[in-house]
């Protein structure tokens, strides 16, 4: 059906300001989410705290097998990355579909939607990280020089999620069942990411599996820095970097190849 001669040559239909647009979209998300809530940003803090309390209760009082000294903080080190990852992946993946009215009516570059979606989740992430760091300062071991690793670790993780969001938001337009795949994957992740257990209990033959999982790697490194007070292992960091850049590149390519079909399928 597609003849080789078919083409569209577009010069400067949209030569707008990417940064301004993405910033405005992120601000919009943030305002909409919090304007109709009396507690506002507190909700972002309440959810991880409730989960932390719940998991701490179950694994120190019911199963009482938790051996870590700072168990609640260790749990929070797992919850914050996992929450960010699942939410950002989910909303990023549906971003093109959710903005169908804009994709079909405004010649704005399509990739701003998944990117803005992930970045607006980063806003909530910042709030939750602030909470986590505050708790470490007050109840945990306190600050150390290795905190300087945190921005790099998180930047890599966000890059990974951006890649996922690009790829899945495009695929989601073609195959609407994608969201159920993501939902199931996220359920599996809750158990396969060491949220309420430590790396030490994982049998050696399964460790490789955990180390290439970027979310698990992130949890491991957060605990290294915040609880154990040492720098993340170079090998883990390099693996995360490779996986993140790889995923971002893949997402970029997939999105670029599929974006021309959005209009007819939305």
């Amino acid at each position: 059906m597609e003849s080789p001669a078919a083409s569209i040559i577009v010069k400067s239909v949209w030569k707008g300001d990417y940064l301004f647009l993405i910033r405005t979209l992120v601000e919009k998300d943030f305002k909409i989410r919090y304007r109709n809530m009396s507690l506002g940003v507190l909700w972002s803090l309440l959810n991880p705290l409730i989960m932390m309390a719940l998991l701490t209760f179950i694994f120190t009082k019911i199963f009482s097998g938790a051996q870590e000294k700072n168990f609640p903080i260790a749990v929070l080190c797992g919850l914050v990355p996992l929450n960010f990852f699942t939410l950002a992946w989910m909303t990023g993946a549906s971003s093109i579909f959710d903005n169908a009215h804009l994709v079909k009516k405004v010649p704005v570059p399509r990739l701003v939607f998944p990117i803005a979606s992930v970045l607006s989740n980063c806003m909530h992430l910042l709030i939750q990280i602030a909470l986590l760091l505050g708790i470490v300062l007050v109840f945990g071991p306190g600050i150390n020089i290795h905190w300087l690793w945190l921005p790099l670790i998180w930047a890599l993780e966000i890059l990974f999620v951006l890649g996922l969001a690009l790829a899945f938001s495009a695929v989601n337009v073609y195959v609407r069942d994608t969201r159920y795949v993501i939902e199931s994957a996220n359920t599996v992740l809750f158990w396969l990411v060491p949220v309420f257990y430590s790396f030490a209990v994982i049998p050696v033959r399964f460790r490789g599996l955990y180390e290439i999982n970027p979310v698990a790697a992130l949890v491991l490194m957060m605990r290294n820095v915040l609880l154990e007070g040492h720098a993340p292992l170079a090998s883990t960091l390099i693996r995360l970097a490779i996986v993140s850049f790889g995923m971002f590149g893949l997402g970029w390519v997939v999105f670029g190849r599929l974006k021309n079909g959005f209009y007819a399928r939305l």
Binding site: M1, E2, S3, A5, A6, S7, I8, I9, V10, K11, S12, V13, W14, K15, G16, D17, F20, L21, T24, L25, E27, K28, K31, I32, R35, N36, H101, L102, V103, K104, K105, V106, P107, V108, V173, Y174, V175, R176, D177, N260, Y263, A264, R265
Partner: protein, 245 residues
């Protein structure tokens, strides 16, 4: 040439809207054979600097598809479309408007979507507010606006963002009589500034007033392309004939 269509055709698969895994698997096994639907067939025309072209035709003639191609929203399946210039497409007034945001916040978001920079947005902000006549309500949430006010705000952003080409899809019925007159004046001023327009409307008077050339589409094909009055006469005659039958 700002916009140049060369034998452009656009077809839509009939399964559109049912993008399920099932559909794709069935296609891999070759079980589904849909006749494609050609919304546009071998359409050729050009739009020059300072020209305004009306697109007329009955419902389903392909007018909106043509505008979508001209706006660079989608690529043709055959032929070529060249676009050269910054386009503000009024295919939908108030793209991205959200009822929970204030008029001012929506204005900025809309301007960013249309491609304005931060500086340019700050520059035109007051002019947009003034043109819209929203006044002090600009800081109230959009859900307190009447639909006329929302349309006025949306139209004001688009006309003030100073594009090279304006694509307009049936939007002149916006607001009250006074605001419509204001829009008409703004569009005429836009034309006098040497800018171009692609204009879709069912109102012959608006078409004749706004454009010097018209293109008549029927079932995705160009029936006629010429001076606006001639095309309107031919199109009107055909419509009358159909009704007579």
């Amino acid at each position: 040439m700002l916009i140049d269509f060369q034998n452009a055709s656009k077809c839509f698969p009939h399964s559109a809207g049912r993008q399920l895994l099932r559909t794709h698997i069935a296609r891999w096994f070759g079980r589904v054979r849909h006749e494609p639907f050609w919304a546009l067939r071998k359409v050729s025309f050009g739009l020059d600097h300072g020209e305004s072209l009306a697109i007329v035709g009955s419902n389903g003639a392909g007018k909106s598809t043509l505008l979508s191609l001209a706006a660079g929203l989608t690529a043709p399946d055959e032929g070529q479309v060249r676009i050269n210039g910054r386009i503000a497409a009024l295919l939908e007034l108030g793209a991205g408007f959200h009822l929970d945001l204030t008029g001012a916040e929506n204005l900025v978001l809309n301007a960013a979507l249309l491609g304005l920079s931060k500086r340019k947005t700050d520059e035109v902000f007051d002019r947009v507010v003034e043109f819209s006549g929203i006044g002090e309500f600009i800081d109230d949430p959009l859900r307190t606006y009447s639909s006329g006010m929302i349309m006025r705000l949306a139209f004001s952003v688009a006309i003030q963002c100073d594009p090279d080409i304006l694509l307009i899809d049936e939007v002149l019925g916006v607001g009250d009589a006074r605001f419509q007159e204001k829009c008409r004046e703004a569009l005429h001023a836009f034309r006098r500034a040497g800018k171009s327009m692609l204009f879709v409307s069912h109102a012959p008077s608006a078409v004749a007033d706004m454009c010097d050339r018209a293109l008549w589409l029927d079932h995705g094909s160009v029936m006629m392309d010429g001076p606006v009055q001639e095309v309107l006469d031919a199109y009107g005659g055909r419509a009358a004939m159909r009704q007579g039958l």
